[in-house]
């Protein structure tokens, strides 16, 4: 076993390098001049320069896309956490007429992929006048990720001892008061995990954003990245800089919250 473990470590290290190298390569290219890139793609940048990043951020328009994404993702995550924790508390911790059916309904929605409903959803959104508006995109994200959020919050609240609810009610709280004063603070760890996951999902999405935000000035960051390809096909370093700008926030979140993300992703697998 011992030797086989060392034998396995070699290809695994190679795979780790292959996993990380594409991003290192892109970062390096983003710091090069066009001339340098054409001469040698692989060599480290002679004198790393931020010109490309500045160009991508400014004149290419990544700053505007970045702001669009930041606003939409912040609003969507806030709404998801509010609605998800309210419903999660009620469905995970309380029994009331119809609670089982409502929970199963939410679970069923989990298995309806966006691709299957995107045509009628676009129609409905158009009828409501929400196409090409930020509230429209926020609402589309909330609808997309709410079932997952409810599922995780409900399974978290199901493990909160019933005595805590009882005690809070004896203290004269209504159920809504119990939610606000007790369940929200108790749910903080789960809310952080679910919030980070939802932020990643919304930040990374491209299909919903393409469908909901057709006009150029409303592009989210990921849609902005897709538009770089055509515009900067002969200016690879600027293209790489644009990609890097879109990747950096995710990298930062990953470095700080890796454990939370892994917990959220695996939550469904062990409960079966």
């Amino acid at each position: 076993m011992r030797t086989s473990r060392w034998l396995a470590a070699v290809p695994m290290a190679a795979l780790a390098l292959a996993t990380i190298y594409p991003l290192v390569f892109t970062t390096n290219v983003a710091l090069k001049t066009r001339h340098e890139y054409v001469l040698d793609r692989f060599s480290p940048a002679d004198s790393p320069r931020l010109d490309n990043l500045a160009t991508a951020w400014g004149s290419v328009g990544m700053a505007r896309y970045f702001t669009n994404s930041l606003i939409v993702v912040t609003c969507a995550v806030a709404l998801l956490l509010l609605l998800g924790s309210m419903a999660g508390f009620a469905l995970g911790r309380l029994r009331f007429r119809g609670s089982r059916a409502l929970y199963l309904g939410c679970l069923a929605a989990l298995f309806v992929p966006f691709q299957v409903i995107m045509v009628p959803l676009a129609r409905t959104m158009a009828t409501l006048g929400l196409i090409d508006t930020r509230p429209g995109l926020v609402l589309a994200y909330v609808a997309q990720f709410l079932p997952f959020t409810i599922f995780l919050m409900a399974s978290y609240y199901a493990h909160v001892p019933a005595e805590i609810v009882d005690a809070a009610r004896i203290d004269g709280n209504t159920l809504v008061g119990v939610y606000r004063r007790v369940m929200l603070p108790i749910g903080a760890p789960a809310l952080i995990s679910v919030g980070i996951l939802n932020a990643l999902f919304c930040w990374n999405d491209v299909l919903i954003a393409l469908l909901m935000m057709p006009s150029a000035e409303n592009r989210t960051l990921m849609v902005g990245v897709t538009s770089l390809r055509g515009q900067y096909s002969d200016d690879i370093p600027t293209f790489a800089a644009g990609v890097l700008i879109a990747a950096v926030p995710v990298l930062v979140i990953y470095l700080f919250f890796q454990r939370h993300i892994a917990e959220g992703v695996t939550a469904g697998s062990t409960k079966g």
Binding site: M1, S4, R5, A8, A9, M12, A13, L15, A16, T19, I20, F25, R41, F42, G84, A87, A90, R93, L94, F96, L102, A109, F111, V112, P113, Q115, V116, I117, M118, V119, P120, A122, A140, A143, L146, A162, D166, I170, L175, V176, N204, D205, V206, L207, L210, M222, V225, T226, R229, V243, A246, A247, V250, Y254, Q258, A262, T266, S269, T270, G272
Partner: protein, 323 residues
């Protein structure tokens, strides 16, 4: 369940002592009129779930029904009129859609590989290969990147005059047109998808390992069992639930989260060889302005997902019983 003296129909889930919080509440409240608070308490759960249920029903479940209905109506001049199965007939005659279904078949064939790779890697990480912590952190990272970013990066790496071909050239291998050759492009995109998502399955496997009974594993090791034997006789049976979960989620991932890659890397080309149903739906809806046809494709995709999901579950159930 008898509610006994509980005035409220709303109780914390596993009701503690028979006469739960309601009764205790009533005792405490004494002479205070409880009717108002119990009335609002009876409504409270519905108030808490209402906004979420409204959003889910209006924007997730209702559109599903609407879409299926919509797939039986016409496009363009025949907008709104019932056309029966015409859209489905059109789909079955469209080489692009048939190609998309063929590619789904390819994904199903490649699925065991996409599950086995992270499974094997997770096994080694679980057995504490030197550097296992670092491997775990690095492998998982691409899984949190947007397919758009992954696709854009690989567009750079895999361009015909790009770095990978330059590298191959130095060892004497001819340039490969990774994204331009109709026979290769779909494998390239699927390969990139697996590269970008194997970390997700890996983390799920590791969570499964943490529930595995380690005494069995220790016993097998003391007996000097070889690694393949341990994997076959201890790990696979012990992780059957996790494996089942990974199979289903990986397949769903392949069917519903490759749009970004297709959109950025190939746009369905070359020659329409890299279409998947989700890309076809997008093209018909967004580019060709044929929403009813797109709805029919959506309905087929949903059917494929249901069938694939049920098939996998029944196959894995049977292998469970065979153990």
């Amino acid at each position: 369940m008898p509610t006994g003296g509980t005035p409220s129909s709303v109780r914390p889930a596993p009701a503690g002592p028979t006469a739960g919080p309601g009764a205790r509440l009533a005792e405490r409240a004494g002479a205070r009129p409880v009717s108002r608070s119990t009335n609002t308490d009876r409504l409270a759960p519905y108030v808490l779930v209402a906004p979420a249920v409204l959003v889910i029903v209006a924007l997730r479940l209702y559109p599903l029904v609407l879409g299926v209905n919509f797939s039986f109506t016409g496009d363009g001049e025949r907008d709104g009129t019932t056309v029966g199965l015409d859209n489905y007939v059109t789909l079955l005659r469209d080489p692009l859609f048939l190609g998309a279904l063929r590619n789904v078949g390819l994904l199903v064939l490649l699925l065991p590989l996409a599950v086995a790779i992270p499974g094997l890697l997770a096994t080694f990480i679980y057995l504490r290969v030197p550097g296992h912590r670092l491997f775990r952190g690095v492998y998982f990272f691409p899984a949190v990147l947007s397919p758009v970013i992954v696709g854009a990066i690989f567009n750079l790496l895999l361009a015909f005059d790009g770095p990978l071909n330059a590298l191959l050239d130095t060892v004497g291998l001819g340039p490969v047109d990774w994204l331009g050759d109709p026979d290769i492009a779909i494998y390239t995109v699927v390969g990139v998808h697996v590269w970008a998502t194997f970390g997700m399955a890996l983390v799920v496997f590791l969570a499964g390992f943490s529930t595995l009974d380690s005494s069995l594993l220790d016993a097998a090791r003391i007996d000097g069992a070889a690694l393949p034997h341990i994997i076959w006789h201890v790990i696979i049976p012990g992780l059957s639930r996790t494996i089942q979960f990974v199979f289903v989620t990986t397949m769903i991932g392949m069917l519903t989260s490759m749009f970004g890659l297709l959109y950025v890397m190939t746009s369905g080309g070359p020659g329409g060889t890299t279409y998947l149903p989700e890309y076809y739906i997008w093209i018909q809806q967004g580019q060709m302005n044929r929403p009813a046809l797109a709805s029919a494709a959506s309905t087929v995709l949903f059917g494929v997902m249901v069938v694939v999901g049920l098939l996998q579950i029944s196959v894995l159930r049977r292998s469970d019983r065979a153990e």
